[in-house]
């Protein structure tokens, strides 16, 4: 029964709530108990920090061999998003054709179903990303 395991993470998954180190000000997502830079000095000082939900694609893949939870969505796009706050989040890019996704594309977080524990089990919700409209022009190669 994984109900509690998922429930525990509802806040970061629904609202992209990460953590800010009260010692150095660095941001983390998902939230961490210890700042990897400040170590012991950060203990007890890691406060919640909500990301705005906008960012850009820094890399992505179009997934064809899908896990069972994503079977109905394949092929789908999974990406690493550089959030405007500077930290990176892994999530699906939805609501567009895979061919429209580019490195540099601006996206915005939305909430969708992530999966479910069978037809009678609990449903999990969390962030995915959709293109910010109108889509920004693809960034030229570095």
């Amino acid at each position: 029964m994984a109900v509690a395991r998922f429930w525990r993470e509802n806040e970061p998954r629904y609202n992209l709530t990460g953590a800010k180190c009260g010692n150095c000000g660095r941001l983390y997502f998902p939230p961490r108990t210890v700042c990897p830079v400040c170590h012991r000095k950060s203990i007890g000082k890691m406060g919640p920090f909500k990301l705005q939900g906008t960012g850009e694609v820094i890399t992505f893949s179009v997934v064809h061999d899908a896990p069972s939870q994503f079977e109905l969505q394949k092929p789908y796009v999974i990406a690493i998003i550089q959030m405007d706050e500077g930290i990176r989040v892994t999530g699906q890019v939805i609501d567009c054709d895979p061919a429209e996704v580019n490195i540099g594309m601006k996206v915005q977080a939305v909430i969708r179903r992530l999966g479910e524990e069978g037809a009678s089990g609990i449903i999990y919700y969390g962030y995915k990303f959709m293109p910010l409209t109108p889509p920004a022009a693809p960034r030229p190669p570095e």
Binding site: Y14, D97, V110, I111, R113, T133
Partner: protein, 352 residues
Amino acid sequence: MEVGIVSYGAYLPRYRIAPQEIGRVWGTDGDAMSRNLLIFSKSVPSPDEDVITISIEAARNMMRRCDVDPCDIGAIYVGSESHPYAVKPTGTVVAEAIGASPNLTVADYEFACKAGTAGIQTCMGLVGSGMIEYGVAIGADTSQGAPGDALEYSASAGGAAYLIGSKNIVARIDRTCSFTTDTPDFWRREGQCYPSHGGRFTGEPAYFKHIMAASQSLMEKMSSKPADYAHAVFHQPNGKFPVRVAKQLGFSEKQIEAGLLTPFIGNTYSGAVPLGLASVLDIAKPGDRIFAVAYGSGAGSDAFDITVTNEILELRRDAAPTVKDLVEHKKFLDYATYAKFRGKIRMKGGAE
């Protein structure tokens, strides 16, 4: 105390299917179906969308347009006939996802296609009595029509959310009244995937009788006449019924134009009047008077007399997509993909 709409937000899934495509599969004349229902396409949710995600997106769009602290929201009501859970509320997820949890009351409503407007009435009562500062009412559905059934051409998905309060009202709700009877025109039994309906019985004794009665009652109470309203929104199970009921009541086609969405997105059930009203608010000017009447099978009608205030100019309407934006952001599906997305294909459970 004046009570009204403080903000609003809408959400529509991106996918569409055309009646011709449905007709192609079932051997029905899709063009004729389209003409009869006055529906050119209907919205289809992705496999990862449901009433919870649609409600949250609509509520977040609502919050983006105003500066209300979500902690000041005292109640959330989500009206739908397709809540993802039979037991476990939709509203609690919405509350967490807009930051309104935990000091509020939440409940899910069901009254066929008028559960969303029932939520608006509830919030009006709570705000008006001073029990809460703000209430959120959401109407959303991912309604299903049985494969091949006439409903399959119209049953669609979408929703809208309303923030009801007494301060910074962008649209004052002057009055609401309802007309309710036991009329079995449409139903879905517990555990059934698809609803059943009484065919032509859903027309005169159901939709038309209830909307006419609620509308006439409201205009009588307000001493108003159709010409007093800039816009009118009626429940729209297809494109034809609202046009006909408007005509019978004495409203012009021009008055219902802004709020008539079903021809393009199908019947969003609990989302229908909330989305139509949102579409009107997207373009409304201060002083505009709006007549809105929902209908829910079973059966009942909720009628609203609404006046847009100067505050509408302060609302950040462009901070979230307009209904028109959402209607136009679309991608058409073939029937097979639609069937897959809507869970109409029997799948094997679990990974091996």
